[in-house]
Assembly symmetry: C3
Amino acid sequence: MLGKCLDNVRKNTPLVHNITNYVTVNDVANILLACGGSPIMSDEPEDVEDITAICGGLNINIGTLNQSSIKGMFLAGKKAKELDHIILLDPVGAGASKLRTDTAVRLMDEIGFTAIRGNISEIKTLALGSGTTRGVDADVADTVTEDTLEGAVSFVKDFARRSGSVIAVTGAIDLVSDGDKCYVIRNGRPEMGRITGTGCQLSGMMTAYLVANREDLAEAAAAAICVMGLAGEIGWDRMQSGDGNSTYRNRIIDAVFNMDAQTLDKGARYEVR
Amino acid sequence: MLGKCLDNVRKNTPLVHNITNYVTVNDVANILLACGGSPIMSDEPEDVEDITAICGGLNINIGTLNQSSIKGMFLAGKKAKELDHIILLDPVGAGASKLRTDTAVRLMDEIGFTAIRGNISEIKTLALGSGTTRGVDADVADTVTEDTLEGAVSFVKDFARRSGSVIAVTGAIDLVSDGDKCYVIRNGRPEMGRITGTGCQLSGMMTAYLVANREDLAEAAAAAICVMGLAGEIGWDRMQSGDGNSTYRNRIIDAVFNMDAQTLDKGARYEVR
Amino acid sequence: MLGKCLDNVRKNTPLVHNITNYVTVNDVANILLACGGSPIMSDEPEDVEDITAICGGLNINIGTLNQSSIKGMFLAGKKAKELDHIILLDPVGAGASKLRTDTAVRLMDEIGFTAIRGNISEIKTLALGSGTTRGVDADVADTVTEDTLEGAVSFVKDFARRSGSVIAVTGAIDLVSDGDKCYVIRNGRPEMGRITGTGCQLSGMMTAYLVANREDLAEAAAAAICVMGLAGEIGWDRMQSGDGNSTYRNRIIDAVFNMDAQTLDKGARYEVR
């Protein structure tokens, strides 16, 4: 049951070092606090190794990357690897610019992540671009729907196996695989796409879930995705006439704050393939 | 009617590249999503040309500028110009420091903007400082009131003509001109000044409006200003006892999210001079 | 009475220059506007001296520091000192990394602050590390409770005397001293720790209080702490079923927005030792 993953986060208060974009960083910090984790942000190369050393997990998000923060990502990533920490990559905008694609691929090849979370387009970009994943069949549809699900599940499993990372593809249907099993998750609401940073928030929270649940990483990642999607459903139910995306953002983080194991186990909608 | 400008934004989902300050960037992203646009943020010189190439508009805001982001502004601006994209300048703090004034003036002279939006003091600084606008009579009052309106309208029209940009001066009364006609807008509430970044938000949204309504840029800019001001009125009406500026921020973005063409046409308060 | 400090802020609209982290900067700006101040953010070395010159106070917060912003901190700090402005240091994460500790200590030694605000661990780090405070007895407990209060009060008084700064240690019990008297404050709620940046917000607001109340700096700092803690209590009372930390953040800033002198004087819970 996923509920115990949630309880483990609340029990262990995982400390997560985030090198993330300045657009959604405040929401990432607040959702980490909401779920029971504790956030630290630092991207300066001279600072990141000390900071990551006192944490249990490292969340690297390449949105608004710059030359200095890229250096910070590699330094922090290598130190975290050396210390056997959880390391997650959110390849925001991979495929949209050469710098983002190259940085994400180099990070993958040189560091090796516990988990990678992105949309199908970003994940396909990594699958095609990375030396360690050469041979992955990325000839998969650009959206994951019931019709394209079978091919997408194969792709995600294959990429997870070859990369050695838990791969999480989020969208209307979410997929998470460790190369063996694949969680197919149907929580969430389409209106979540009208808020900036629900993906970044999920990556932050997923890092905390992985840190507190190292014995089954795919399950931990799936639990974080179900929490986020279910919070999107609970938050939407609390919306009132005149409310819009700014209030919805608050309601989702609030729902994560109030989520308990029982609510999660009752509301999570997933199957394992 | 301005309502069709709003519908065009919702129909076309204009993608807007923002090089903007880290203070209000999250609200800029959320208001772009609220109005029906789609935001991307990137300021790294090596990244900005690729990112701006996939967008329809570029919003340059010089709040919290730094040496690296300034380079990014010039590179993105030139690429966007080359691709005939919409380019907007928000000269935050022009006149308050030499670096801000010089950067804004250089950007104006070297790039040439579709539109420039600022308060009267920032716009006067540009009118006085720029080589391409030498001769503009900036001997205009420091606030736009009913008493000083006539002179301000002349100034804005003149500056728009000489600069070749749509000029938007926002304050208690807002003015927008393309050099020919000048919209005089009386939407909004004074309490909006107690929230950080309503100006930055407007600049982001205005860029989306310009992208989706290229056939009449002054009208598009006026529509964005009316949406923002009207959202400020609608949001204020929803305030409850104990609410303050933080909740008001959410209510304004929410009102933009829920705004439709009919509401805009009914609520917009403007005249054309 | 502390209420007059609040009124002085509202009357004088102190302009505060903030060099602060990108995580909580938006909330710092909004709380400064909520309390009656006015925020400007700038960290670029070429920009900071001009910006700080037009302000009354400078708030330096070292969270997410980088090589460029560190240069900005020294340049702005020296200019502000030269102009006899209020200068506050928030040593976020001092003790957690060498760069943060060294930067905070160097800033203390080279600039000299009007006030320093942090948690007990950060303040102890400064007390131990700084040349100007050598000899301070930092053998004090790591949390301030009723049991450890007496030692903590002595430590704060001693550090204030030796450093020449008003020292504010915030936690479950807050302490503020100018070396002579020490305010012991018991406002606030533990749930405030589940929101990112309540400390950063307090530092921003405290800078505004110091600027508007130069005749008694310890009292001004104590007033800001009481406002923040009381806003945390008032905001919590307005929470509804299903609300969480994201809504709580808004409610606290809203409560600062609505606070008046009478409410503050009635709700402030402090003693002077």
